[in-house]
């Protein structure tokens, strides 16, 4: 595959391939972002 054919949205198969990879990215990055944001919101231990 090439970048071009990867982002090709014309066939159902390709759309599903794209959305599957997007799902993984969104969920993992989203969870990481949530943990990171809460990390910054929590007070660092006083030392």
């Amino acid at each position: 595959m090439t970048w071009h054919s990867f982002f090709n949205m014309s066939t159902m198969e390709n759309r599903h391939l794209l959305s599957a990879y997007a799902t993984v990215l969104v969920i993992q990055a989203g969870y990481l972002a949530r943990v990171a944001w809460q990390w910054h919101r929590t007070r660092a231990p006083r030392r």
Binding site: M1, T2, S5, F6, M12, E13, N14, H16, L17, S19, A20, Y21, T23, V24, I27, Q28, Y31, L32, V35, A36, Q38, W39, T42, R43, A44, P45, R46, R47
Partner: protein, 257 residues
Amino acid sequence: MPNSPIRDKINPMEQRSPTLRNLAWLWFAIAVAVLVVGFREAIFLVPSDAAQGDVGRIFYYHVPIAMWSLLFPYLNFAASLAYLYWRNRDPLKALTADAFALASAEVAVVYTSITLITGSIWGRAAWGIWWAWDARLTSLLLLWLLYVSYLMLRRFSSTGQTQTLAAVLSVFAAVDVPIVYMSIRWWRTQHPAPVFFGGPDAGMDKSMLPAFVWNIIGWGIWGIFILLFRFALERRRQIADQDAALQAIEASLEIPQ
């Protein structure tokens, strides 16, 4: 009392040690690097599947994540047992175990959710159905439900009881998982033959191996990273709570002059 010996004992992990931070960043960088290589292998380098075409590339994300998603429930089980063991013997160790149990449960839900959703997307494109009530899918769905219910219990239960109740539920869930798997397997079988074990199409073509291996290593390293990050966050919260409680106690001690 900034240098109180009590505080030293309570917060063994609160050192804002640069070594730990650097190690964390390094691990994160390794995870991302391996995943990038894995992505490149999966999309650009490995040949497309003979039967399914390019849609089959979902395999390189779906299967590694599915495999790792079976690990985290066991970590949660181990941590919950540790919590129950240490609960009355060493409260501080118990607290750490509880933090680890929560972190591993959350990561289990994340990985299982991804497995279910990508599997569904793949199933629709490759085999025409979004879902089937066969042994493997149903078992995985039930695993997901069990650990979501664990997280709900943690959220809804009153403070003080949360940790013990959650640990108990975790034991139930862990014992239930193999039972669920066996019972549903007896009930039916329809999922395509696993690529590694059994079935006429057993084994993966050697040309697919690089993508698979890079991704399985990559998602494993990532899983460990995110698990430990979440664990550290929970520990930080616990320590912040303890600090606040300690401050309240100290303040109340200073009042009578």
